[in-house]
Amino acid sequence: MLTTEQPESRGRTRFILKKMLGSLLTLVFVLVFNFVLFRIVQSDPIGSLFRGRNVPAAKIADLRTAFGLDESLWVQFWAYVRQTFQLNFGISYQSRQPVWNEIVSAIPATVALVGISAVLSALIGTVGGVIAAWRRNTWKDHAITSGTMVFYSMPDFWLGMILLVGFAVVLGWFPVGGMTDAGTSATGVALLLDRIHHIFLPALTLTLAYLGEYALVTRSSLLDVMGEDYLTVARAKGLRDVVVRNKHAVPNALLPVVTLTAINFGFVLSGAIAVEAVFSWPGLGKATADAIRGPDLPMLQGLFLLFSAAVIFFNLLADIAYAWLDPRVEGA
């Protein structure tokens, strides 16, 4: 029972602190797991450097010492933890550059592409889902539900290839890949337009691919809410239909959508491995695809850690958003 304002906000603070602690523990687990995983897959890291070529045994022994592979697992683990916190993820096998530098240089391209697509698909998908549910069993509902379902069920890289072939190869309206025209010296507005020209097809692919999930989840969530008595009460009060929808139905229906959005944003960094590869988009997804082909294990290890951290962070954000939106989240 509520007596003053305080217990409620205390309950929420406690809830958020608990979730933060949980995220921290998950992060520690991921750190350990990442170490163990790469010790299992990588039986002979030095051997993979030379890809079966003949190399003197003494040279190999030297390299093992140089990489610290002759130390015990515990020493290696300690070095791994220490260096991770120093953002030192080792040297990429392919580019011979520090993994961290490679990752940092690929982040902006991915954040731009997947960020734009995630925001657009969340907005358009949610609005579509609201319209479909509110006008259920009308032509609007059928068009939105079946339209988004088609894109939802397509593999994203396949959709990307179709768009690429159609709009870039056959029609020639858009470039076939990359982030800017090769050798361009454009600056300012011209550079921005060039970027938009390049990002259009991959962003369209990802937006279409994610759209359906939002539309379907929003629709079913709103349909559940639409049977609730408080909507009849809102109508009885003399509210306009659109106010009943936007002020009473949607805020209650959006709770599961908030979780979905946050989880999808967690995949912003890792989200587009296949689509970036299709469009040669120089982001983390393409870096991952290239590293798998190597295999460039230090690069993969760094990428995995980053992807996991992003997912954990956005899940925490989802919990905090939930506590803010739903007053019933207290000591839960």
Binding site: L2, A234, A236, D326, R328
Partner: protein
């Protein structure tokens, strides 16, 4: 007792469900004078909640309605969408059942009480709405700090009081209380009934009180109407109907409650065998005949209309 605040003539409501047409209300007529209170009783499925919701046109789309409803002199079914919204909550307001999800879980109680004042512009400012909502809370016996509470932080009785305060927000002439005491424990039920009785004494509020609990109605209703299978089967002054029922169904309902001061009835409150008929598949003739202890052959074929059964009283039974 002059101009009726509400007049219902031959109201018929048919739901359009996937299973076909389901008649929920079949030709109901009554008048409600200013300040009068009508109790509507019957088992679940008899159409009483459908009737309540139809009085503000809150039934789902596709529901077929015929007949006439005049509310405060206006033809309800002829109102434009804007005109309908203007009638809702200012002329007639509904007290919904608080045990159900009648309150929006993500808004504070106070915000939901203030909302209709803003919509109908019965207050000039938000400050005025806050003052009024504090007064309303005080009126229904709630502490003002509960205005900031969310529904899940309130008890069942408190939620019911919030719903009453909310219904009073725009000073309606007619209050429709749809099972407001169902699912409350007995003490709280008595408090809520006392509150409604007080509200009526203070103003010229007209009341329609819907319940399946006949004994509740004798405290709040001037007149009683008993519904069975979508029709009114008996109506009259409430004490007369309760103590001296003429329709066999009303007799059975009244006998289901022990009478205080009559030890014999307390030992043997009698029930009524069988279930109420499904609205989609009503029996022929009088829909009560399969459960009626006095049923005759003609009851299988004749569905009697209401006929006079004493002073100010009517019942629909061939035996009267």
């Amino acid at each position: 007792m002059s101009w009726p605040v509400l007049s219902v003539k031959d109201l018929t409501i048919t739901y359009n469900s996937s299973a076909g047409l389901v008649p929920a209300v079949r030709g109901v007529s009554f008048d409600l004078a200013v300040g009068e209170s009508l109790g509507l009783a019957g088992e679940s499925g008899c159409g009483k909640s459908t009737l309540a919701n139809s009085l503000l046109r809150l039934l789902p789309e596709g529901t077929v309605t015929s007949g006439e409803v005049t509310i405060d002199g206006q033809d309800l079914f002829a109102l434009s969408p804007g005109g309908l919204r203007a009638v809702r909550w200012t002329t007639g307001a509904i007290v919904f059942q608080g045990a159900l999800h009648a309150l929006n879980p993500v808004q504070t109680a106070g915000r939901q009480v203030r909302e209709p004042m803003h919509v109908h512009e019965t207050v000039a400012s938000d400050d005025e709405a806050r003052v009024r909502s504090r007064q309303l809370f005080e009126r229904v016996g709630l502490s003002a700090n509960l205005l900031e509470a969310y529904p899940h932080q309130l008890s069942g009785g408190q939620r019911q009081r919030v719903l009453i305060a909310m219904a009073l927000a725009c000073d309606p002439q007619l209050l429709i209380a749809d099972e407001p005491t169902t699912a409350l424990d007995l003490m709280v039920q008595a408090q809520v009934l006392a509150l409604i009785a007080e509200l009526r004494e203070e103003s010229s509020l007209s009341l329609i009180f819907i319940t399946h609990d006949l004994s509740v109605l004798t405290c709040v209703a001037d007149r009683l109407a008993i519904m069975y299978a979508g029709r009114i089967v008996e109506q009259g002054p409430s004490m007369d109907v309760f103590q001296n029922a003429t329709h066999p169904y009303t007799k059975a309902l009244a006998a289901a409650f022990p009478t205080i001061g009559d030890p014999a009835s307390r030992k043997a409150p009698s029930g009524l065998a069988g279930d109420p008929p499904t609205p989609g598949a009503l029996p022929s003739g009088c829909p009560f005949h399969p459960r009626c202890p006095l049923a005759e052959d003609r009851c299988r074929t004749i569905e009697p209309d209401l006929r006079s059964s004493g002073q100010g009283r009517e019942a629909a039974c061939v035996l009267i």
